[in-house]
Symmetry: C2
Subunit: 105 residues, 2 copies
DNA sequence: TCTTTATCGGCTTAATTATACCTATTATAC
DNA sequence: GTATAATAGGTATAATTAAGCCGATAAAGA
């Protein structure tokens, strides 16, 4: 991050690498090794290695790992409930994207 | 979340659904539709629908979407740099998991 | 009513990831 | 030096996801 505190990385590859590195640090801060963490998360050690190494992973593997590391609260901050009124910041939008009901097959 | 502010969902499926719902709210708060968001993210509309619907997704799709929504700062909070000294909280661990160097192929 | 827009879900094929297993490397313990 | 533990990375197969299509549904506007 820059000295202003923003994430400056751009490519998906760099972002994955950053996320993985952070997860690894968090795991170590918890005093857990990959084997124990993978077992708690219910994923394979290889999947955890790929996640930590930034070599491709699924959202499910990520969430399972976060839970195993007791870091689920991070989701709240990652994507907080949007309490912002969508209408408040729509200069160019004419019609408001309405809430859709279930589509009946 | 409970009134104490914690995430109470358990299963990976529920977590994916929550994450997807949050992303959808965030997208709407930005005044974007799925088509424009998918285009900005560089993913297919189907992949974005799966992500928002909690129907399985990859970390790459997640990160691309977050970037398209200008929500990358959330990563900082999701998994902050672990400045905690691992040795400080290792009651049962005998040896410290050392930093490994690159493995030479 | 008819049209347009946004979303949804199914489908097929291609690409990616998960799993299980293996060997190699590094650091620590003995 | 040897043994052990933790991590890295390769491979083959199975499972999952992405992409690109398609038609359907619901809401809003003309």
């Amino acid at each position: 991050m820059t000295d202003t505190g923003e994430v400056y990385l751009r490519t998906p590859l760099e972002l994955q690498a950053l996320l993985g590195a952070r997860l690894r640090s968090l795991r170590r801060a918890r005093g857990l090794d990959q084997r124990a963490t993978a077992e708690r998360a219910g994923v394979s050690e290889k999947a955890l290695r790929n996640l930590e190494g930034g070599h491709g992973s699924t959202v499910e593997t990520l969430l399972r790992t976060l839970k195993a590391l007791d870091a689920l609260d991070g989701i709240e901050m990652l994507v907080p409930e949007a309490t912002v009124n969508p209408l408040a910041l729509l200069p160019r939008r004419v019609r408001r994207p309405r809430e859709r009901n279930e589509a009946k097959p």
